[in-house]
C-alpha cells in the first residue's frame, strides 16, 4: 500500500518536473507550441542523432528516468511472493499460470495509472501556462498513444526483471535488466548510416515511444515545424506491432518459466 501511494506521488512529481522542463523548450519554439507538443515532449522525446555522438542530458533524463523509476519500483513484484510467502500464496491459487496472469494484470493496471498521471499532469501544466490545444482529438490521440507505448515497453522490461529474478537474485536481475535497458538507448546517441540507424531504431523496444521520430500524418502536423526528421516507415502502428511482439514473447516466456520453476529453498 505504501509502495503504491509513493509510486503515484512520484508520478505526479515526475510529471510536474518533466513538464516544466519541457515547457521551457516548447515555449521557446517560434511557432506551433501546443499542449499536444508538451505531452509528446514530456516523456516521449529524444533528439535524433545528427552528429557522431548526440547526447542531451535533460532530454535523456526526462525520457529515461520515469521508466527507470517504475522498473525499479516493480522489479521485485514477483520475487516478493517467492521470497516472502511463495508457498502460502502459490498453493492458494488454482494454478501457476493464473498467479502469473493476476500479477501481470496487477502490474499493467499500475503502469497505466502511472503513465496516465504523468500525461495528465503535463496537460494540466500546459493549460495552466496558457498553451493552446491545436486539436482536442489530436490531444486525446497523442496522450493515449504516449501512455500505451510507455506502458507496453515498461511492461516488457518489468516482466524481464521479474522472470529473471526467479532464477538469479532479485538485485542481480534488476541490475542486468536496467543495464540492458540503458544500453538499448545507444541508437539514440550514436550516429550511424541512415539505413542502419533506422533499422536499429525501428526494432528497438525502448525507442518505440519516441513519438517525434514517427512519420504518421497526424504527428507530422506538429513535428514538421520543429525540423525533426521523421523516420520513413516508422509509424505508430509499427511501434505497437513491434512492442506487441516483444510483449507476447515476454508473456510466453513468463508463463513457461512460472509453470516450470521449482519452489525450493534457494534464496527464499
Amino acid at each position: 500500500m505504501i509502495k503504491k501511494v509513493s509510486v503515484f506521488i512520484t508520478a505526479v512529481v515526475i510529471g510536474v518536473l518533466s513538464s516544466l522542463i519541457r515547457l521551457d523548450f516548447i515555449t521557446n519554439l517560434a511557432e506551433g507550441a501546443s499542449i499536444e507538443l508538451l505531452v509528446m515532449f514530456t516523456a516521449n522525446f529524444l533528439p535524433y542523432p545528427e552528429e557522431k555522438i548526440t547526447f542531451e542530458l535533460i532530454a535523456s533524463l526526462t525520457y529515461i528516468a520515469p521508466k527507470l523509476y517504475i522498473l525499479i519500483a516493480f522489479g521485485d513484484f514477483f520475487y516478493d511472493d517467492f521470497r516472502i510467502s511463495s508457498v502460502y500464496v502459490f498453493t492458494r491459487k488454482d494454478n501457476r499460470v493464473k498467479w502469473f496472469l493476476d500479477k501481470l494484470f496487477h502490474i499493467l493496471k499500475h503502469l497505466v495509472l502511472y503513465f496516465a498521471i504523468i500525461t495528465a499532469v503535463s496537460v494540466i501544466i500546459g493549460f495552466a501556462n496558457n498553451l493552446p490545444v491545436a486539436s482536442v482529438q489530436g490531444l486525446l490521440l497523442i496522450s493515449s498513444i504516449c501512455i500505451l507505448l510507455n506502458v507496453t515497453v515498461t511492461l516488457v522490461f518489468v516482466l524481464l526483471i521479474n522472470v529473471l529474478s526467479l532464477y538469479i537474485s532479485c538485485e542481480m536481475s534488476l541490475f542486468l535488466t536496467l543495464l540492458a535497458y540503458v544500453f538499448a538507448h545507444l541508437p539514440a546517441i550514436v550516429k550511424r548510416s541512415d539505413p542502419v540507424q533506422h533499422l536499429l531504431i525501428k526494432l528497438n523496444p525502448v525507442l518505440q515511444p519516441v513519438l517525434p521520430w514517427h512519420d504518421d500524418g497526424f504527428l507530422l502536423d506538429y513535428i514538421q515545424p520543429l525540423d525533426i526528421p521523421a523516420i520513413p516507415g516508422f509509424n505508430v502502428y509499427w511501434s505497437f506491432l513491434v512492442l506487441g511482439a516483444y510483449l507476447v514473447l515476454a508473456v510466453f516466456v513468463g508463463i513457461r518459466v512460472v509453470k516450470t520453476v521449482e519452489i525450493t529453498d534457494r534464496n527464499y
Partner: protein, 218 residues
C-alpha cells in the same frame, strides 16, 4: 478414493537422487508421520505432494487429481514448509487476511477464530517482524488450518514451540483429523509422530519404509 497416491516418484537434482522411486498410498482422514534424518528427503516429498516441485519421474495424485497435470496444486491444501515466512510489516491478522483473500472462502471471524485457536490474539497490534519464533510458528499453523483444508501438510509443526504450544498443536491436529482432514507430518520429534500418527514412515536416502519394517527407527 485415496487422499494421496504416489507412484514411482523420483526427484533428481544436479545428479543427486533426492527421492528414489517412492510408491505410497495414503487414506483419507488419517494422520501420517514421516521421520528421518535431515536431508533424507522428507521436505522434498512434501514439496512434490504440494506441487511445488516437478518430479523427474513418477506421478503424484491428490484426491484423484494428478499434480502438475490436472491441477498445479492440491485443491484443498493447508501447509507449513520450512523457511517460509509472512510479511514482516503486517500484523498476524493482516497477513492471514491477505492470504485468505486469495481464495475468499472464509470470513474475518473465521480468521480470528483460527488465530485464537493457536493461542494468539487476533487483535494484537504487533507486526509479524516483532513476533517470537514460537508466535511465528503458531501463526503458520493458523494459516494452514484456517480454510479447513482436506489435506494438511506440516513440516516440523512443533518447531520453536514451548511445551504448552506443542500440546496445543497436537490437540488441534487431532481435532482436524476428527473433522475428516488427512494430515501429513514430518518431524524429528519422535513423540509427535508416536502420539499423533495412525501410520508412520521412515524416510532414508530418498526412500520410504513403513515404521517397523526392519529399517532401524531413530
Amino acid at each position: 478414493m485415496m487422499a494421496v497416491e504416489i507412484y514411482h516418484l523420483t526427484k533428481i537434482i544436479r545428479g543427486r537422487t533426492i527421492l528414489n522411486d517412492i510408491t505410497l498410498e495414503l487414506e483419507r482422514g488419517k494422520i501420517y508421520g514421516f521421520f528421518g534424518r535431515n536431508a533424507s528427503g522428507k521436505t522434498m516429498l512434501f514439496r512434490a505432494i504440494c506441487g511445488l516441485i516437478k518430479p523427474t519421474r513418477g506421478e503424484v495424485r491428490v484426491f484423484g487429481k494428478r499434480i502438475g497435470v490436472d491441477v498445479s496444486f492440491p485443491e484443498s491444501l493447508g501447509l507449513i514448509i520450512e523457511n517460509v515466512g509472512f510479511w514482516e510489516q503486517w500484523t498476524g491478522f493482516q497477513n492471514l487476511k491477505f492470504l485468505a483473500s486469495i481464495k475468499n472462502i472464509i470470513t474475518d471471524e473465521d480468521i480470528r477464530a483460527a488465530i485464537r485457536r493457536v493461542g494468539l490474539d487476533p487483535d494484537d497490534k504487533r507486526i509479524y517482524g516483532k513476533y517470537s519464533l514460537g508466535m511465528k510458528q503458531r501463526l503458520g499453523i493458523a494459516q494452514a488450518i484456517m480454510e479447513k483444508p482436506q489435506l494438511i501438510v506440516l513440516d516440523e509443526p512443533t518447531n520453536s514451540l514451548d511445551e504448552e504450544g506443542v500440546g496445543l498443536v497436537r490437540n488441534i491436529l487431532l481435532e482436524e483429523k476428527g473433522r475428516g482432514a488427512t494430515i501429513l507430518i514430518a518431524s524429528h520429534i519422535k513423540e509427535d509422530i508416536d502420539l499423533l500418527c495412525d501410520e508412520k514412515f521412515k524416510v532414508e536416502a530418498g526412500r520410504i519404509y513403513p515404521a517397523g519394517s526392519g529399517v532401524k527407527d531413530e
